[in-house]
């Protein structure tokens, strides 16, 4: 299997699907030039200007036009450039895309993918660094993908493009250079199936997206200290693999959720609440969450580093759980 970067894995996945289905097209700013990150490099020459459409900086209409095009039977990939810009298209995403199948009694399924590279990246400050994926898991009608490896990015993107549901695809932009093996023929990865990144017996760490490599590093550091951490990469936040999380937590009896998003009101809270409901209040010896404090992401490197979860913070959080 060839080893490619995560962003190249995403490019190959979209390329494979667009070659197979002429109804698939891409719209977004600068996509005909290859996209901000090169995720559509070469698409214009292969697919032409009707299928790789560079648009004005009109986020509402990028999002809403994607919906309209889906309603007449095409399968758009809506590229939002940077996740934070999707804030300009919340009516189209939340009031329209997420509702339309239900509100119209099933007359239409808007088969579309919204790609939104998210997360802390190169000291980009508060309007280019957010991780708000938990918001969208809260909205009925949406699928939320949060991959962290090249293979998972490729497989989930294939699944997203083939899905009849609207799928929000959070590209982990800080991991775009990360290398990994991707099959020549990319198979879809089903939604709602976690990946066991590392097996362990002392505690379960549930995580996703750009923070996963830091959690894996932390698990290695914990092993050196005699603590066996199991790491589950959820890969999709809705649907999420509740069965895998519960099975692991029931075994280790310690559950830590690590996400780059703000801790308060984050999806980690949902996971711990469900664990309490499903396993009973006495089933777990210790639970915890690690995320960002409820503070906007700052610019200066020492400030950003102070707030961002990293391997050392994961180790400290895990050790605190083991002490209980």
């Amino acid at each position: 299997m060839p080893e490619v970067t995560l962003v190249e894995a995403a490019r190959l996945a979209a390329l494979q699907e667009m070659r197979a289905d002429p109804r698939i097209w891409v719209l977004g700013e600068d996509v005909a030039r290859g996209g901000l990150f090169g995720q559509y490099r070469g698409f214009l020459s292969e697919f032409g200007a009707q299928r790789i459409v560079s648009t004005p900086i009109s986020e509402s209409t990028i999002m809403g036009a994607g919906l309209g095009a889906a309603l007449v039977g095409t399968r758009p990939i809506i590229e939002m450039r940077i996740f934070d810009f999707a804030m300009c298209a919340m009516d189209e995403l939340i009031n329209q895309i997420a509702k339309i199948r239900y509100m119209f009694g099933g007359q239409a399924k808007p088969a579309l993918v919204v790609r939104m590279p998210h997360g802390i990246w190169r000291n980009s400050a508060a309007q280019h660094s957010q991780t708000l994926e938990g918001w969208f898991a809260h909205v009925p009608g949406l699928v939320v993908c949060v991959p962290s490896t090249p293979a998972d990015t490729a497989g989930l993107l294939v699944q997203a493009i083939r899905s009849d549901d609207p799928v929000l695809f959070f590209d982990p932009k800080n991991l775009f250079p990360l290398k990994g093996e991707v099959a020549e023929r990319i198979a879809p990865i089903p939604f709602g199936v976690a990946r066991t990144a590392r097996e362990g017996s002392d505690l379960t760490i549930v995580t996703w997206s750009a923070i996963v490599p830091a959690v894996e590093d932390a698990a290695g550091m914990l092993a050196a200290r005699g603590i066996s951490a199991e790491v589950l990469d959820l890969r999709t936040l809705w649907p999420w693999d509740e069965a895998a999380v519960m099975a692991s937590a029931a075994r280790t009896r310690r559950l830590l959720v690590v996400h780059e998003a703000v801790t308060a009101g984050g999806f980690g809270a949902e996971i711990l609440a469900r664990a309490t409901e499903a396993l009973g209040p006495g089933a777990l010896r210790a639970v915890g969450r690690l995320g960002q404090p409820r503070v906007p992401v700052p610019f200066a490197p020492p400030l950003e580093d102070a707030l961002k979860p990293d391997a050392a913070k994961v180790v400290a959080a895990a050790e605190a759980l083991m002490a209980r």
Partner: protein, 329 residues
């Protein structure tokens, strides 16, 4: 338009559609007042000529998007009346199975891509539908209905620029009833007006008396021909008047009584009726159209009232495939 006979037939077709819209709205208002229809209801009484005149020029495979005051657009595009009435009543036989109601009527079988509860919400959808249709090799066009309030929202600027940029087959129809909810449009809209705004965005605009059904029809016919010929988007600015309040429970008492009385003098059904009489159509024939429309809507109301409610179990359906929640507790 060719000979006088053809013209008369066309005017009669317009009148028939307008009578059906008026009768539907009056019936819905009465049913709402009687407590038969839950939720908010926005009727389009006084604006029927815009819907009828525009949609008379559309094919079945053309698409429309609509707004919160959208019953007339749906009827003019050919949406099934019983499905519409039952949707208003929240019944299982509604076009949306009772999940949408008045503000979310859609009938995809006739190209009606949905009313919309958000002002200007249909504009991006319409331009995208046009772009998608082109990609699929279709020569169908999209008509996008919105009110004067929508031109102050961002999607108006974005969507018209977009449609002009990609030369998309979209007819933007601005129903200018002069009032955005409870606020006079002129008091919140700067600049030289709707048509000028469209022109500034590269979309040629035509203004008409939107209470003159024949004028709307003729303007729409020309614009639709241009759009279908590949000329790109056009905007039809139709001046009209909302004879009722914003919602069925709003008396719009802030309006001057003389203004409303004058507006009734100019209302589109009376005007078209007078014109048809001048053209020699017998009063009896017009009365028959009016009576048929009333009877159709009364029957739809009675059937809707007797129609079954949706099974509560369907509240869980059609959310999404992946990750659908199925428990009923």
């Amino acid at each position: 338009m060719t000979g006088g006979g053809d013209n008369r037939a066309r005017l009669l077709a317009l009148y028939g559609t307008m009578c059906r819209i008026r009768a539907f709205e009056e019936t819905a208002l009465a049913a709402h007042k009687a407590g038969e229809i839950p939720g908010p209801l926005h009727v389009s009484i006084g604006q029927e000529a815009v819907a009828a005149g525009t949609c008379l020029n559309l094919r079945r495979d053309d698409r429309i998007t609509s707004n919160h005051r959208g019953h007339g657009h749906a009827i003019a595009k050919g949406a099934g009346i019983q499905g519409m009435m039952e949707e208003l009543f929240g019944r299982a036989g509604g076009h949306c199975r009772g999940k949408g109601g008045s503000m979310h009527i859609a009938d995809f079988s006739v190209g009606m891509l949905g009313a919309n509860g958000v002002v200007a919400g249909g504009i991006p959808i319409a331009v995208g539908a046009a772009q998608g249709l082109r990609l699929l090799g279709s020569d169908a066009i999209v008509a996008c209905f919105f009110g004067d309030g929508a031109i102050n929202r961002g999607p108006f600027l974005e969507g018209l620029n977009w449609a002009a940029l990609y030369t998309l087959p979209v007819l933007f129809v601005c129903e200018d009833n002069g009032v955005a909810a409870f606020t006079r449009a002129e008091s919140v809209t700067a600049g030289p007006g709707i048509a000028a705004r469209a022109e500034a965005l590269g979309v040629p605009a035509t203004s008409v008396d939107g209470n003159d059904a024949a004028a709307v029809d003729q303007a729409a016919a020309r614009l639709v021909a241009e759009i279908r010929g590949g000329a790109g988007p056009r905007l039809l600015h139709a001046r009209t008047y909302r004879l009722m309040g914003h919602t069925s429970t709003d008396p719009a008492a802030w309006r001057d009584a003389a203004e409303v009385a004058a507006a009734h003098e100019e209302e589109p059904l009376a005007r078209l009726r007078a014109r048809l009489l001048e053209e020699g159509v017998p009063d009896k024939a017009l009365g028959a159209l009016e009576g048929d429309a009333q009877a159709e809507m009364q029957e739809a109301r009675a059937r809707a009232l007797a129609a079954p409610w949706p099974d509560p179990a369907i509240a869980w359906d059609d959310v999404q495939d992946a990750g659908a929640v199925t428990e009923t507790a």
